[in-house]
């Protein structure tokens, strides 16, 4: 699955939240999106998973303009892990994961053994099998996030959008989730706060600031001290990670901390 975003602009009250953003992700590529809070990361992802409609530009999946697809067709191609799923209603973990089957089911379709197998497998892959019957709201933040990942897996798409997928997770599960996603061999676009995780997992990284793409390329090309300084306003030292050889960032404030 290939994603192409061309010249996408999205405005709120004449302010360009996204300003002619162009970005792409190749088949099986893990692409990271970094940038400070309010830079437009989430807005861009929303345009891609169709929660927002861009004011200008084109977004296509495998060459097909998503604006021409039904929402349901999009959901069969794109699965999304959002930061948090608010709901005032109680659901069991398994019911949440079953929701991932929604775009594949017609009005009269019942759950098949195939669906049940997919759901069980998705839960297993995130290590939540024994939580299947639990009330979603009794879970910890990290457990919830894994359930939401399982729901995205149950959607069985070739393209995955992740908005801060490692929020609320301890380091074991941060790495666990990203290892899992990487192992799926599907096209992935992930907004990541943790630049070191981005450096470790992304094939390519786009840096976005004030609605514009300001740098793109392999992690070592993008994650440079000058760029970090210009978009985050802090100092950074970049070293190769002694174990993986990937760039590793050490941050410091100008006040000597």
């Amino acid at each position: 699955m290939r994603l192409d975003v061309e010249q996408v602009t999205w405005e709120v009250e004449a302010k360009k939240i996204l300003n002619e953003v162009t970005l792409s992700a190749d088949d099986d590529e893990f692409v990271g999106l970094i940038g400070p809070n309010g830079s437009g990361k989430s807005s861009l992802l929303r345009c891609i998973y169709r929660s927002l409609r861009p004011d200008a530009g084109l977004i296509s999946i495998d060459g097909g303009d998503i604006a021409q697809m039904t929402i349901r067709d999009s959901a069969r191609k794109t699965a999304v892990v959002l930061q948090e799923t608010p709901s005032e209603f109680d659901f069991q973990v398994e019911e949440i994961v079953f929701m991932g089957r929604t775009p594949h089911k017609g009005l009269l379709d019942r759950e098949t053994d195939e669906d049940r197998r997919i759901v069980a497998e998705s839960l297993e892959r995130v290590g939540m099998t024994e939580f299947a019957g639990r009330n979603f709201w009794t879970l910890s933040g990290g457990e919830k996030q894994r359930v939401i990942v399982a729901r995205a897996l149950a959607q069985q798409t070739r393209f995955l959008v992740l908005d801060e997928p490692t929020n609320h997770l301890d380091i074991k599960f941060q790495i666990g989730i990203l290892d899992l996603v990487k192992g799926l061999h599907v096209t992935t676009l992930a907004a990541l706060h943790d630049l070191n995780l981005a450096a470790s997992y992304c094939d390519r990284i786009y840096a976005i600031s004030e609605g514009k793409i300001v740098a793109s390329g392999a992690p070592e090309q993008v994650l440079r001290p000058e760029l970090i300084r210009s978009i985050y306003g802090i100092g950074a030292i970049v070293q190769p990670h002694p174990k993986t050889g990937r760039p590793h960032l050490l941050f410091y404030s100008d006040n000597g901390h």
Binding site: S51, S74, E88, G100, T102, N135, W137
Partner: protein, 335 residues
């Protein structure tokens, strides 16, 4: 099991009244009418009481209870808010205006059905107003819907209050108050067909959309990522729920409580998945209202209480007890 409970409740409800009737006789009478057999070992009086008075009333209570409960669940999903009920969009207040106009000014253009038709038109009018005002660039968001609905409710209620205030005869005021509290006392076979058909069709539609309703209450963005066109779907849900509510209010006034809390009571047992919630809520709502109506009939004999007065008195404590027992539900397990 609920189906059996429903049939048993219906039978029992028909036997209870100023004249007690043996349940076997009840079924014989029903059987005779359904199969068009003449005569039997029961009196004409019993036949009339069962077939013309009590059975239509019990059936109507069941249909109304079922509809309220299903619409309540649908409305809660539509606006993604647990405190929504069938009346949240101002439909019952709109209907009240229509009904009160008929009662106070005797606008009997449609004969026997004037009251119901006026109430239905009032509900439709409220629906149209809320539907148009709540839209913003063709989109309906839950918060706007609720706020516009509540605001419209207050406006219509004020109009109703004003009309009552201006009413001349206390007998009319009494009639209006009775109607406002809701009742199935006027039940006869002629009032049953439309509500039953609308209930069947509305519930059928909602059942088909149960999976999408699950997605909708999981969150606005989540629903989109699951392939649900939230704006269009919400409009459909709103239209269906409003049609059902309009019919309910037209034949039974605005019976409170059932549509708000019955879906929650059912969620305690079967969870939030609408594929289980809707059918169970339908049956439970029917059983509940049938029994509430029995109480309304017998508690201050020979007078009758409006059914809407009893629903909350009986249902409220029961619901609170249930909620205490299921302490994990409704965010009890949340941190």
């Amino acid at each position: 099991m609920l189906v059996i409970a429903l049939l048993a409740s219906m039978t029992a409800a028909v036997t209870i009244g100023p004249v007690a009737i043996n349940p076997v006789v009840v079924w014989k009478i029903i059987g005779a009418h359904v199969l068009a057999i003449d005569g039997g070992d029961w009196s004409n009086a019993h036949d009339n009481i069962v077939w013309l008075i009590r059975l239509p009333r019990v059936l109507l209570a069941g249909v109304i209870g079922a509809s309220l409960s299903v619409v309540g669940a649908a409305m809660q999903a539509t606006v993604r808010n647990p405190v929504a009920d069938p009346y949240i969009l101002g439909l019952s207040s709109g209907a009240s205006v229509g009904a009160v106009l008929v009662i106070l000014f005797g606008l009997n253009v449609f004969g026997l059905y004037s009251l119901s038709i006026a109430a239905f038109l009032g509900a439709l009018g409220a629906f149209a107003i809320v539907f148009m005002l709540a839209q913003h660039r063709g989109r309906l968001t839950p918060v706007r819907l609720i706020l516009v609905g509540v605001a419209a409710s207050y406006v219509f209620s004020s109009v109703t209050s004003f009309l009552i205030f201006r009413a001349q005869e206390s007998r009319q005021v009494q009639a209006v108050l009775f109607w406002l509290a809701g009742s199935v006392a006027g039940a006869e076979w002629g009032f049953l067909t439309i509500p039953a058909v609308v209930l069947a069709m509305g519930t059928g539609f909602l059942m088909l959309q149960a999976r999408a309703m699950n997605g909708l209450i999981a969150g606005e963005e989540t629903a989109v990522t699951l392939g649900i066109n939230t704006s269009r779907f919400r409009k459909q849900l709103m239209a269906v729920a409003s049609l059902l509510t309009g019919v309910i209010v037209a034949v039974a006034g605005s019976i409170g409580f059932v549509g708000l809390l019955m879906p929650h009571a059912v969620r305690l047992f079967v969870g939030s998945d609408h594929r289980r919630l809707l059918p169970v809520a339908m049956l439970a709502g029917a059983i509940f209202l049938i029994w509430v109506d029995v109480i309304a009939r017998i508690v201050v004999q020979p007078q009758e209480l409006p059914i809407g007065v009893i629903t909350a008195i009986v249902g409220g404590p029961v619901f609170l007890l249930l909620m205490r027992k299921h302490s994990q539900a409704f965010g009890g397990g949340r941190t």
